[in-house]
């Protein structure tokens, strides 16, 4: 018998009151899989993540996530005025051990410091979270996810607004997590980076495609996903189309 999927959505329909914002989503990702969620702004990526973390109840269908996932939100929903350091934030991940009513143990403190080291923030461990740069704050939140030691990580636009140095560090950490056999769901606009994932889920208000990158990133699927936002760079014969997207922000 096949093991249950680490993340699954079955006939999923999601919305915020005025009809579905995302519908027809149906996929399964086995443990240890890396899945890229691709789509334009407003395509339903964050809506899907909100359902996966239990923050949005499905209009129809169901979602399943094995265990408690670690979540890196796209928009910063953290309080920058809280008197917590980068180390305090990383230590919050240790709450997932189930001992939330007790002070952190020495081992948990070491794990949090190791996580900060892994994301290149060891020197900023004592710095207030609100005084870190945007990229550093994302890395601190990633350190919290590492301390949480979750089998499934949900990373919503992890590189959005992040400086190149932070992006490089985070990419290296994602590669390590992948090699550790963890399940990663990463949403992005970057068509080319999506090719390095095991699976790709294309969304644009509905599920356009799901499967291996070789099957799911053809010209037709990309055009259906991005419409006029898609710019084809190259379409060599017998090789995947190379494309970028132009994002229109309405704010």
């Amino acid at each position: 018998m096949a093991p249950p999927p680490a993340v699954a959505a079955h006939d999923l329909s999601l919305g915020y009151g005025a009809g579905p914002a995302l519908e027809g989503v149906h996929f399964e990702a086995a443990a240890g899989t890396t899945l890229c969620v691709l789509g334009p702004n407003g395509g339903g990526k964050t809506t899907l993540f909100r359902a996966l973390i239990g923050d949005l109840r499905p209009l129809a269908g169901e979602v399943r996530v094995a265990g408690r996932p670690a979540y890196l939100a796209q928009t910063e929903r953290t309080r920058l005025d809280f008197p917590v350091s980068a180390l305090d934030v990383a230590l919050m991940g240790s709450l997932a051990s189930g001992r939330w009513w007790l002070p952190p143990r020495r081992a948990e403190r070491h794990a949090a410091l190791a996580a900060l080291e892994r994301v290149g923030l060891a020197a900023q461990a004592g710095t207030l979270f609100g005084e870190l740069s945007g990229g550093q704050r994302r890395r601190a939140m990633l350190a919290r996810a590492l301390t949480q030691d979750a089998a499934v990580l949900l990373l919503d636009e992890p590189f959005a607004g992040v400086d190149p140095a932070s992006a490089e560090l985070m990419t290296a950490v994602f590669d390590e997590l992948r090699s550790e056999g963890r399940t990663l769901l990463v949403s992005t606009h970057d068509v080319e980076s999506a090719r390095s994932f095991d699976l790709v889920l294309c969304l644009n208000g509905l599920q356009v495609a799901f499967g291996a990158p070789g099957e799911s990133l053809g010209r037709e699927v990309l055009e259906a996903t991005y419409g006029s936002d898609l710019v084809i760079l190259e379409e060599p014969p017998e090789r995947p189309v190379r494309a970028i997207t132009v994002q229109h922000h309405e704010h």
């Binding site: 929903r77 008197p83 009513w101 949480q148």
Partner: protein
Amino acid sequence: MILVYSVGMDLAAIPSPVELIELPATQIALAELVLLAVAGGLLGAFVVLRRLAFFSHAVGTATFPGLVVADATGFSATVAGLCVAVGYAGGVERASHTGRAPGDTATGLLLVAALAGGIILASDVFESGAAVDRLLFGTAIGLDGGDLALSGVAALLAVAGTVLLGRAWTAGGFDSVSAPLLGVPARRADLLLLLLVALSAVAALPAVGALLVTSIFVVPAAVARLFTRDMRGLLLWSMAVAAAQGTLGLYLSIWLDVPPGPAVAVLGAGVYALCATGIGARSRLPGEEAA
């Protein structure tokens, strides 16, 4: 109804600070304010961080009509206050999780309704007279062992809550979306915070009155917030400021013959204004960083 207090400024009548620990009535009042400093200082830190200042003000004021009725009918003021405060806290918590949290407007309306309702009950129904100013602004000399015991319970529960739930309150306030994913029972922890604030507000009613309980919860933590950069420092300084504010406020109330509530509140607000202004001026100096 106009409440007038005669503020005597005869310098020769300045009481000795020793009087605070010599007279039995002031001993009880001092002990009461120190116990409230523990509860108010600890819970106040989370009240300020979690942006519950208006809630803490509302929960105290909401008890006023209930206190008027209890005072006139001989019913226990503590039980009446607890019923109203706990009911209000439970309602706020429930509404916040159904997307119908009472906003500032609704809370403001509640405050007006509670004050107006209480005044009408006091003046036209029960003719409470002089009891009104005691219910609104507290008393330094009318406190008894029962008041002290309730404040002791509130202080103990505040310490226990901070030790056991402090990490959950911090994680939930810092990132409310992710806290449940970390296994933190955020909703139950939030409810307990509101209930502890409600209980402590009721414990503070006899000393500082229904209108000024917020001076115990908000002012010390707001002052401490100006100087501290970590949770432990915030909690300790918040308690220390609350204790100093309570002691000095009591001294001023005896000296100026005013109820302790206004003395504590005005002193705290003055200290906060001075500190905030000083820090603001310092941050504007070249080469200086804001705290």
